[in-house]
C-alpha cells in the first residue's frame, strides 16, 4: 500500500499537469454559466453603475432633467452628522451582537452536548426566531418594549420596577433594543453551527484532557474554543455583513429614531431615497456602503485563504 502511493500520486500529477490537454477534452461551459451571469452580474453591475451615475446628480427621482453636481453629494455626506452616527451604530451593533451571539451560541451548544432533558423543545424555541420574518415580529416587539408593555410589566412583577423605562422611546436604550432583537433572531444559527462544529472535535483529545485532570472550564477554554475557531471566524464575517445589511428591524421597530439613535446606513439610504426623494444623495450613500461591503468581501477571501493554508 505504502509503496504504491507515490506512484499513484505521480500518475495523478502527470494527469493534471498538461492542463491544456485535459481541459480541451471538456466540453465548453460558457453557455452553462451565462444565465447566472446575465441574471446576477448583469442586473447587479448594471444597478451599481447606474447608482454611481445617480450619485453625481441632484435628483428627486422624477424630474427628467436632473442637475449634475459632481462630487457634491459625497462632500455633503462627509459633513453629515447622521451619516457618521449611522456608521458608529453599525460598528457598535456588529461588535455587541457578534460577541453576545457567539457567547450564547457556544453556551447553548455546550449545554446541549451535555444531554439535557427536553433538549428538542429548547432547540425549537431557540431556532424558531431564525425562521420568523423580522417584519412579522416587529409589531410584537413594539408592543413588548412599549412603556406599558410586557417587559416593563414583568420587571414590575419581579420587583425591579426601577428598571422599567420607555425602551424604544429614549435614545439611550433604543439601539440596545435593536441589538437584543437581532440577537434573539440569530442565536439559533450560531448555536446550530457551533453544535455541528463541536461534534467534529476529536473525542480522544477530550478524553485525554480528562485523564490529565482538566475540568469543564479548562476543557472549554483550551480544547473546545480553539476547536471551533473556523466557525467563529465565519460567524464574525456573517455578523459584519449582517450589520451592514441591517434594515428591517430598525426601520420597523424604531423607524431609525428617536433622534436618529437607531439610524443605520440601510435605513438612512431608504429614508433619503424613498420618503425624502433625495435620490442622488441616497445613491452616494449607497456607493459608500457598496465600497465598504466590497472591502469586507475581499477581507473575507483573504481570511478564507489563510484558513485553508492552515488546514
Amino acid at each position: 500500500m505504502e509503496q504504491r502511493r507515490p506512484a499513484q500520486r505521480a500518475g495523478a500529477a502527470a494527469d493534471d499537469h498538461p492542463d491544456g490537454r485535459r481541459r480541451q477534452r471538456m466540453p465548453p461551459g460558457l453557455p452553462w454559466i451565462l444565465p447566472a451571469l446575465v441574471l446576477s452580474v448583469g442586473l447587479i453591475y448594471y444597478c451599481i453603475a447606474y447608482t454611481g451615475y445617480i450619485s453625481t446628480l441632484n435628483w428627486d427621482g422624477i424630474s427628467s432633467h436632473p442637475k449634475s453636481v459632481g462630487d457634491n453629494n459625497y462632500v455633503r455626506i462627509f459633513h453629515d452628522p447622521v451619516f457618521w452616527k449611522a456608521i458608529r451604530h453599525t460598528v457598535e451593533f456588529f461588535v455587541v451582537t457578534f460577541i453576545i451571539q457567539t457567547f450564547l451560541g457556544m453556551l447553548f451548544a455546550v449545554l446541549f452536548h451535555a444531554r439535557l432533558k427536553l433538549a428538542v423543545v429548547y432547540k425549537v424555541i431557540v431556532f424558531v426566531p431564525v425562521v420568523l420574518a423580522p417584519a412579522i415580529m416587529a409589531p410584537v416587539f413594539r408592543h413588548m418594549f412599549a412603556p406599558d408593555g410586557e417587559l416593563n410589566q414583568v420587571l414590575r412583577d419581579v420587583g425591579l420596577a426601577s428598571l422599567a423605562r420607555p425602551w424604544i422611546g429614549q435614545t439611550s436604550t433604543a439601539l440596545p433594543v435593536i441589538m437584543a432583537i437581532t440577537i434573539w433572531e440569530w442565536t439559533g444559527v450560531t448555536f446550530v453551527l457551533y453544535y455541528a462544529a463541536m461534534t467534529q472535535i476529536d473525542q480522544s483529545v477530550l478524553e485525554a484532557a480528562r485523564v490529565d485532570g482538566a475540568g469543564n472550564v479548562r476543557t472549554l477554554v483550551s480544547i473546545i474554543w480553539p476547536g471551533v475557531r473556523g466557525t467563529t471566524v465565519a460567524l464574525a464575517i456573517l455578523s459584519a455583513i449582517g450589520a451592514m445589511k441591517t434594515f428591517d428591524v430598525p426601520y420597523l421597530v424604531t423607524i431609525g429614531g428617536p433622534n436618529y439613535a437607531t439610524e443605520f446606513l440601510g435605513t438612512y439610504i431608504y429614508r433619503m431615497t424613498i420618503p425624502l426623494d433625495h435620490v442622488g444623495y441616497g445613491a452616494a450613500l449607497s456607493v459608500i456602503l457598496l465600497v465598504a461591503a466590497l472591502l469586507l468581501a475581499i477581507a473575507f477571501q483573504l481570511v478564507g485563504r489563510e484558513r485553508k493554508g492552515r488546514g
Binding site: G29, P35, V110, I125, F127, V140, H143, V189, L220, L294
Partner: protein
C-alpha cells in the same frame, strides 16, 4: 462535551439552560397572549374575515416559488459549468459573481426603481423576483460549485466516453447527484424570499400584489392601531413558517446554517 456525572451537576445545567431559553420564548408568549387579549378568539375571526388576507399568502407563495425555481435552474447550470466544463478565464467570471456576495439590497433601490418603472415591471411579481434571485444566486453557486468539485471528474468523463453530451451529463448526473446541496439552497432561498421586506415594500404598491411581510402594516391601517388584531395577524402569518420548520427541522437547520456561512 461537559461532564456531569452527579445529579447536582445535571440539575444545575438544566436550570441554567432553562433560564437561558426563557428570553427566547418571551416574545412568542407576548405575541400569542397579546393576540388573545380583549376579545379573545374574536380577534382571529375579525382578522380572518378581512377580505384579501389570503391574497397576501398567494403572493408570497408565487414570489417564493418564482425565486426558488429561477435560482435553482440558474445555479445548477452555472455550478456545472464552473466545476466540470471548460471555460476560458473561469475564475474571472467566478470572481465577478462572488463580488456580489456581500451586497446589501438597499443599494439597488434607486436604479431598480427607475428601471422597473421604465420597463413597466413596477407592481408586478417580476420586480421582486428578479432582484431577489439575482442576490441569492452568487452564494448558491459558490455552495453548489464546491459540492460538485467534490465529485470525481472520472464520473463525467465516463459519461462522455459513453456518448453523453453535456446536456445529458447535466440531466443524468448533476441534477440527481446534487440533491443534498440543492436542499440547502432550497431552504435558504425560501427563507430569504419569504421573509424579505424591503423589495415588496418598494416595488409592490397595491395590496392586491403585496406579500405577507407587509401584512402588519396593512392591518395597522385596517384596524386603526388595534394592537390585539395586529398581533393576531402576526400569529396567523407566523404559523405557516413555524409549521414548515417543525415538519422539516433537520433540513431547515442544515440549510440555514449552510446559508449563513457566507
Amino acid at each position: 462535551m461537559l461532564e456531569t456525572r452527579t445529579w447536582k451537576g445535571r440539575t444545575i445545567l438544566q436550570v441554567v439552560a432553562t433560564l437561558l431559553v426563557l428570553p427566547y420564548l418571551f416574545p412568542l408568549i407576548v405575541m400569542v397572549k397579546g393576540s388573545l387579549a380583549g376579545q379573545g378568539w374574536h380577534n382571529f375571526q375579525a382578522v380572518l374575515k378581512v377580505p384579501g388576507l389570503g391574497r397576501f399568502f398567494v403572493n408570497s407563495i408565487v414570489i417564493a416559488a418564482g425565486v426558488i425555481v429561477l435560482v435553482y435552474i440558474v445555479t445548477m447550470m452555472a455550478a456545472y459549468g464552473f466545476a466540470k466544463l471548460h471555460i476560458a478565464f473561469r475564475e474571472v467570471y467566478f470572481w465577478l459573481l462572488l463580488a456580489c456576495l456581500t451586497l446589501p439590497e438597499v443599494v439597488l433601490l434607486a436604479p431598480l426603481f427607475t428601471t422597473a418603472l421604465h420597463l413597466k415591471l413596477y407592481n408586478t411579481y417580476w420586480a421582486v423576483i428578479l432582484p431577489l434571485a439575482a442576490l441569492q444566486v452568487p452564494f448558491a453557486v459558490l455552495l453548489t460549485r464546491n459540492f460538485l468539485n467534490g465529485l470525481p471528474n472520472e464520473l463525467f468523463e465516463a459519461a462522455r466516453v459513453d456518448g453523453a453530451n453535456s446536456f445529458r451529463g447535466f440531466v443524468y448526473l448533476v441534477i440527481p447527484l446534487t440533491r443534498p446541496i440543492a436542499a440547502a439552497v432550497f431552504i435558504f432561498t425560501l427563507i430569504g424570499a419569504w421573509n424579505d421586506y424591503l423589495m415588496p415594500l418598494v416595488f409592490l404598491q397595491t395590496t392586491h400584489m403585496q406579500t405577507i411581510t407587509l401584512v402588519p402594516q396593512f392591518f395597522v391601517g385596517e384596524f386603526s392601531n388595534d394592537q390585539t388584531k395586529i398581533l393576531a395577524s402576526a400569529v396567523i402569518t407566523a404559523i405557516p413558517e413555524v409549521v414548515a420548520y417543525l415538519c422539516l427541522q433537520g433540513l431547515f437547520e442544515r440549510g440555514l446554517s449552510a446559508g449563513a456561512i457566507k
